[in-house]
Amino acid sequence: MFALMAWRNLRQGGRRTTLLGLALAMVTGLLVLLMSLSDGVNDSMIKGATSLAAGHVNVAGFYKATPDEGFPMITETGKVKAVAQEAVAGLATVIDRHRGWSRVVSDAGSIWAALYGVSVEQEQRLLQTLRPARLGDYVEDLDGLDPDAREGDMRDLAEADTAMLFVTQARRLGVRVGDALTIRTETLRGQSNTVDVRIVAVMDDLGLMSNWSIFLPKQTILQLYGLDDDTTGAVMLYLDDIERAPQVMEQLRTAYAEAGFDVMEHDPRPFFAKFQTISGQEWTGQKIDITTWTDEVSFLVWVITAIDSVSALLITILTIIIAVGIMNALWIAVRERTTEIGTLRAIGMSRGRVLAMFLTEALMLGLFGTLIGAVGGALLAVGVDALAIPIPSQAVQAILMNDRLHLVVEPAEVLGVIVGFTVMCGLSALWPAARAANMPPITAIHITE
């Protein structure tokens, strides 16, 4: 019955209650939306990073023929893979890619790009993630071509001297499937070397990463740099559970050291940011560098931090406003119901019960408001995600790391929001409720005169 009293008193509150509940629902909904945006970007980033640039954990390294020149390469690929397979339980896949950094030239233009030399039969993940782009998205002069056609097949990377690139690159280079590119680079011994490749696929962008990633067959890279067969750029490990990446990295650090490899200190930056540091060091020969996927995309994490900070700021302000609103509404309720409170105290209701009665009101309001808001926000997020709304601006695409609006709803987070806001309501009610509890019973008789 005390719950019933709280509920009916809330309803008695009329417009005041409705407005507060609505405001609470809106803020909760907004928070859920912002969080799913942040989670969506995170999801896009994980997907982009872990299919284009990195495994969950990466075993890469640098080889230095002279003290002032490092090359992103490891020798003894077989042994490196074997150590990982031995040391880590719960490995989903292990692949390896060559790495390079070079100029890519077409008839119409040129770009700098990270080269990934792949064995296409190892690249099931990539195959599943990427999709050939619409011609209309990168061919300027369609000239009778169907803009909705999607040309090319990544599997053709199995052929020698081929290349797969992304839609933004294709637009900049003015090329399409079947066109030729020249890759120009320097070998370990400082000679400049070039190779001509044929484009076999142009894929939809996958966030910022795809602006500077080009895929080639391993053989082309070996030839380009004059490397021998047992070398590779990085061994990429995919785990059953991505959350275990930091732990596995530590495990591997020990395992490689024990296997006699020279393991570098952990440096949480992508490999291409490390050249400067490496070439400043005295050593020559081979060193192993073990990183997690977050290290390899650390230069992108600011986006998520930014979204989260803006959300936090916004939500904090709105929460304060609502907390003040609830406090105020309850103040008014306590004032309006002075006689009632006094009466209840006179007929024997304890202070604790009076406190509980007002807290219940606030908690009920909180629970209903947040529940409606959270469910509404979550449904909206799922709906928007399902619509896959294209993002018009390329800058925004780059920031959100996706060409579509991608939102991910984490049920645990939504639950956390509901609980958090409800508790906040209770806390804001504490003061007026305590005030009501301390009201002397004598007011029941006095105030009405």
Partner: protein, 233 residues
């Protein structure tokens, strides 16, 4: 027989800025079980203040108030609350029902506060007392659907449902027309006879006083007369 209410030289002062209002100036009074007492006196004579001392919603500045042998100034607020819940019933001039609860729920409320009763027992007691005040038909109605007289009868039922030793009523008929007031007084008298509950009520209506068997008159915070009435005979 030991008195159920005992006031010894009770003084109540209200500090009001620089001056001190002396509402009760040494009141001594004993009331036994089952009495039906009216407190009369002009406005400002201290009737409400006196009832507040007995009702344990206030404690005296000096002197002692004993309820069933317990001195109220020695009790903490939580103990006073328990005392009010278990031994006292209140009837207010303005009825003071809980507007969001219906008649039955208003009457059930003190039983819930008391605890330890099953729903069935509570229902039975509520029905019994509501039947005694003659409102069985209105059981599911909210206070704002009831007339003033009906509301006061609900308040009486609420005050009596826990079976208190003492029922206090501060001008219970002041907000009612005289015919309805008479009915309420009749009801109180009947319940007093049937259940041996002590009733103490204040009034400045002489027709209401006539119902009492004992009349205590206050003037300026002091008892000016304390006598048995004709009704007692």
């Amino acid at each position: 027989m030991k008195p159920i209410v005992e006031l010894m030289d009770v003084v109540k002062e209200f500090p009001l800025g620089k001056v001190t209002v002396r509402a009760l100036r040494g009141v001594s009074l004993q009331i036994g079980r089952g009495e039906f007492v009216a407190i009369a006196g002009p406005s400002g004579s201290g009737k409400t203040t006196l009832l507040n001392q007995v009702g344990c919603v206030d404690t005296p500045t000096r002197g002692t108030v004993r309820i069933d042998g317990q001195s109220t100034s020695e009790l903490a607020e939580s103990a006073l609350t328990k005392l009010r819940l278990h031994k006292l019933g209140f009837i207010f001039q303005t009825f003071n029902l809980v507007p969001v609860l219906d008649l039955a729920q208003n009457v059930e409320l003190p039983l819930l506060l008391k605890g330890g009763l099953t729903r069935g027992e509570r229902d039975r007691r509520v029905r019994e007392i509501v039947d005694q005040v003659g409102l069985t038909e209105q059981l599911g109605q909210r206070p704002n659907e009831l007339s003033g007289g009906q509301r006061q009868r609900v308040a009486i039922a609420r005050a009596l449902v826990t079976g208190p030793n003492i029922v206090l009523a501060d001008e219970p008929t002041a907000n009612l027309d005289s015919a309805t007031g008479e009915q309420i007084l009749d009801l109180m008298e009947r319940l007093n006879r049937d259940q041996e509950t002590t009733f103490i009520f204040s009034t400045h209506d002489s027709r209401v006083m006539a119902h009492a068997r004992r009349l205590v008159t206050l003037v300026d915070g002091k008892i000016s007369s304390d006598e048995a009435t004709e009704a007692a005979a």
